[in-house]
Symmetry: C2
Subunit: 243 residues, 2 copies
């Protein structure tokens, strides 16, 4: 892992890095030393590691809980080159949807394909980041909604270091099988009027989680309209399970 820049703002240090071809960002408290909980964040489709919704949450996890937070660009997103194969499949899927085919299973299949790449990538990032002296091998949390849920469910299912996860805006069609292998506490966010993910799909994904402690938080509003008070709840959830 190679750190390429470091800046600081309001007590939160931000280090850009690359691990092989993967560009990432690590946030830690200024002057942090020693092991601390780490939250891995997965961004949404079309977004990137420093999308506003990622940065705003990451800064609060660091400033209010003293955690480290890491996010990386998903293939084809942010600072990564376009991926010809993924682009070809996405274009084909769009054409099939335009021809009347149901888009949901196509997206589910596409996310499963991308997850076969991102799960080992994210595990390698976890290995590398936990080598840093100011992160260390503490408890790990995962936060990701929408694409960050579609890629996060197989990651959380595969990665025993993850002790708690905030997931949401995802559906059973893409993720039920892997969700049935998740046993850590989960806070699951569902938007009641989600225009992209049918309500029944979200409820079925929550149902599929094998976790003894799982809590569904459903709020009115569309896909992008998770209310601000849910971030307060997320902070307390991670503090409870990682702190």
């Amino acid at each position: 892992m190679r750190f390429t820049s470091e800046t600081s703002c309001d007590g939160v240090s931000e280090q850009l890095f690359t691990l092989g071809e993967i560009p990432g960002v690590l946030w830690t408290p200024d002057g942090a030393a020693g092991t601390r909980p780490l939250v891995f964040m997965g961004h949404g489709g079309g977004q990137h590691k420093k999308a506003p919704g990622i940065v705003a949450r990451a800064r609060r996890f660091v400033a209010e809980c003293g955690f480290a937070v890491v996010a990386v660009d998903v293939p084809g997103h942010g600072d990564r080159p376009k991926d010809e194969e993924y682009n070809r499949i996405a274009t084909e899927n769009q054409a099939r949807a335009d021809a009347g085919e149901d888009l949901a299973p196509l997206i589910a299949g596409f996310q499963a394909l991308v997850a076969r790449q991102t799960v080992p990538e994210w595990q390698a990032v976890l290995d590398a980041v936990q080598q840093a002296e100011h992160v260390g091998a503490g408890p790990v949390g995962y936060w990701g909604v929408s694409l960050g849920c579609g890629l996060g469910v197989p990651f959380v299912a595969a990665e025993p270091r993850v002790r708690a996860a905030v997931l949401g805006l995802g559906g059973a069609q893409a993720s039920a099988e892997a969700a049935a292998r998740i046993t850590v506490p989960v806070e699951f966010l569902l938007q009641w009027d989600d225009e992209r993910m049918p309500r029944a799909q979200g409820l079925a994904l929550f149902d599929a989680l094998a976790s003894a402690e799982k809590t569904l938080h459903a709020n009115p509003g569309k896909h992008g309209e998770i209310p601000a008070f849910e971030l307060d709840s997320t902070l307390r959830f991670f503090a409870r399970h990682l702190g």
Copy 2:
């Protein structure tokens, strides 16, 4: 309103009272003076104003938020005499259920009947309690699950002093119509494996609420197994909307 006893424990004062035929209990901080938020609590079926789940919550609302809390016995419960008409209907309903009839609509009809008595009773209690110098006419919250939801939904719908409500373990069959007249913020508790209330009924009641801010908290477990961390959430919800 006539106060009949006063005791104190760990900073929380408990005053028993009667208002006409209605026995009630008022909890306030020791030495409280002046206006404060008030939480009205509705107990579950077969329970009473000092059931353990009511007392435990009431003491935390008082001790941690400085609120006043009031609860009264529902007709036929606690220190109230048996109600011959309600008993007769309950016995008839049980016989119809034993004969194979669906119990849910019978319970819904029964709760609607009781609510015609409890809504004006509870409004009178609110009038009286807010006359007390150490309560006053501050913002009012409502907390009630199960029967406390079945009776609480029409109460919250009818009572403009209620600014926020925690409801749950109730169903649309009994309460959807009144729920559609509720516009204040609601935190709605649903038990994912509720053996008494079908999941779809609970989801439909949440859906029926007209509140712009409403949040569904669903957790695994049976009717009586709301997890302890939901009380922390309830405290923050009331603190946010009444504090």
